[in-house]
């Protein structure tokens, strides 16, 4: 048959279109280019949703601390994003995902190395996302873990020491312990489950925060003559804006942890995540109202975050009812935790320990109780919680204690009284306003 050039030129675009729309047309990964694009696009959306959580943290922490320290808080939150992303590119990513390793610690090499051809694209994760998407999505998580510490140490930590601690914590500690589960390490082999990071992100951040707070000591004037002296936040609007930004980001935090755009799973996760947050608000509202006689806004802000942290370990494997119960319990837990830490003179200006550490542990254990997957066992979850607790706390404590000896970790009394904005930065957050010293 004589070859007709017309058909050759027609065939090319027709075949290309068919490759997109024909269900049978797929690549070696068994996934069509169209589905791959949808998956990857969702993962990139999830990435920048997690990114905006940094603004949420910045606003929440600023709002719940005093105006004279606001510049300092904003500075720390901005610096941590940079440190987190860059160290993750340098070594964090390859520590967290070392490939084939002994299950405890491994390293896939310095810097990012894009696999060749389809290996970095549709073949990288069975058509779910590209290599670069994987990196940047996970990098946002790393930075989030680091920033949890900044709220707990607020208003008295020395900036330089904090930056050094954060850099080492997020570059080394976070990814190594993270590899135990998400990198396919020993806890993953054991059956430990942490969907989006109740332990790996929030617990790790929380243990780090606890270690630093113990080394640092409470703010001046917080515990006087056996009494707890409240130090009020300076901006409830900022704190509220922050909480809602964090909730918004959680759609990406949990929704993206499905690691594809799977409609069933992502939509389920959206539901469990939001209902847990709502339940957290409700439970913390009722609890704080009963305990304090008046409903405390800062408590219900913590309550929603408590629910969110609590659901993070199992958002894809619990029922709707399960997610509500998890959120309710988290909401009650966070209120009592805040009061407990004050009772034992552990000063946490923003409730980071109560939200991330306590409810991170709760969320992880809750998987063992509420998961619809019979492979998830409570005792295995407990082993994971303890393992992460012991190692992360010890590492953070050792590191911060060493920094205390080397360079000091706390500002002077005068600096603390007059405010970190002027002393550490030379720039007040609210120029032109009068702020009273407390």
């Amino acid at each position: 048959m004589k070859k007709n050039p017309f058909f050759t030129y027609l065939a090319l675009p027709v075949v290309s279109v068919l490759a997109f729309i024909a269900p049978g047309a797929a690549n070696a990964a068994g996934v069509s280019q169209g589905l791959f694009t949808a998956n990857n696009t969702w993962m990139l959306v999830a990435t920048f949703l997690v990114f905006i959580m940094h603004l949420g943290f910045a606003a929440l922490e600023s709002g719940l601390t005093r105006a004279k320290n606001t510049t300092n808080i904003l500075f720390k939150n901005t610096a941590i994003v940079a440190i987190g992303l860059l160290t993750y590119a340098l070594c964090g990513f390859n520590l967290m995902y070392p490939g084939d390793f002994n299950g405890w610690i491994g390293f896939a090499g310095v810097g990012l190395s894009l696999p060749a051809g389809d290996g970095g694209l549709i073949g990288y994760a069975d058509g779910a996302y590209t290599y670069y998407t994987d990196f940047i999505f996970q990098a946002m998580f790393a930075a989030t873990a680091a920033t949890i510490v900044s709220g707990a140490v607020a208003e008295r930590v020395k900036l330089s020491s904090f930056l050094v601690f954060s850099a080492i914590f997020v570059a080394i500690v976070y990814p190594i312990v993270g590899s135990w589960k998400w990198g396919g390490g020993w806890l993953d082999t054991m059956g430990f489950y942490d969907f989006a990071g109740s332990t790996l992100v929030h617990g790790v951040g929380g243990w780090g925060a606890l270690a630093c707070v113990l080394v640092l000591g409470p703010r001046l004037g917080k515990y006087v003559n056996g009494q707890v002296k409240p130090i009020l936040g300076h901006s409830m609007p900022l704190a509220t804006v922050g909480m809602f930004l964090l909730w918004l980001g959680w759609f990406g935090f949990n929704g993206g942890s499905v690691l594809s755009a799977d409609p069933g799973l992502v939509s389920l996760v959206f539901v469990t995540t939001s209902l847990a947050a709502a339940a957290g608000v409700l439970a913390s509202m009722i609890t704080s109202w009963m305990v304090q006689k008046k409903p405390d806004l800062s408590m219900i802000l913590n309550g929603s975050l408590a629910g969110l942290v609590g659901i993070t370990a199992g958002a894809d494997t619990v029922t709707v009812m399960g997610s509500i119960i998890i959120g309710l319990i988290a909401g009650v837990l966070v209120v009592f935790s805040v009061m407990f830490f004050d009772r034992v003179k552990i000063d946490d200006p923003v409730g980071a320990l109560s939200v991330h550490l306590v409810c991170g542990i709760w969320g992880t254990l809750a998987v063992g109780i509420f998961s619809t997957n019979a492979d998830h066992k409570l005792w295995v979850q407990l082993v994971g919680v303890i393992a992460y607790g012991v190692v992360t706390f010890a590492a953070a404590f050792g590191l911060f204690f060493a920094l205390k000896g080397i360079m000091g970790v706390r500002v002077t009394e005068q600096e603390e009284m007059e405010g970190l904005d002027m002393h550490e930065h030379g720039v007040a957050a609210y120029n032109g306003f009068q702020t009273t010293n407390q």
Binding site: S288, D342, G351
Partner: protein, 112 residues
């Protein structure tokens, strides 16, 4: 010449300003202050711990007046600022040694 200094509840400011303009007082300075007298404060809770609010927000008015007008002004302020409950405030009357209008350099009563 006298200075009438009145410390009043903040939400009373509009009423007091209106009462003063009705008797011909057209100038004053206000500042936002905090204070307590016998009103003391009260106890509140924040994140599970109790604290005392001692200083209550108030508005301070400074009005410079001629001697004959003082009684009228004090009465106007008192009647418009009063609510009958604790914390209504106080009025202080002090002597002014000199008053100067900056724009023109006028001194004494013509500067008021």
């Amino acid at each position: 010449m006298k200075k009438v200094e009145a410390i009043i509840k903040p939400f009373k400011l509009e009423e007091v300003k209106k009462a003063l303009s009705e008797i011909g007082i057209v100038g004053m300075t206000i500042s936002e202050v905090k204070g307590f007298g016998r009103q003391k404060g009260h106890k509140e809770h924040y994140r599970g711990a109790e604290y005392a609010i001692e200083f209550v927000p108030k508005i301070k008015l400074d009005i410079a007046v001629n001697d004959p007008e003082v009684e009228k002004v004090v009465e106007a302020v008192m009647n418009s600022a009063r609510t009958g409950s604790i914390g209504d405030g106080k009025i202080f009357v002090t002597s002014l040694t000199e008053v100067v209008r900056i724009r023109t350099g006028e001194m004494g009563e013509s500067a008021l």
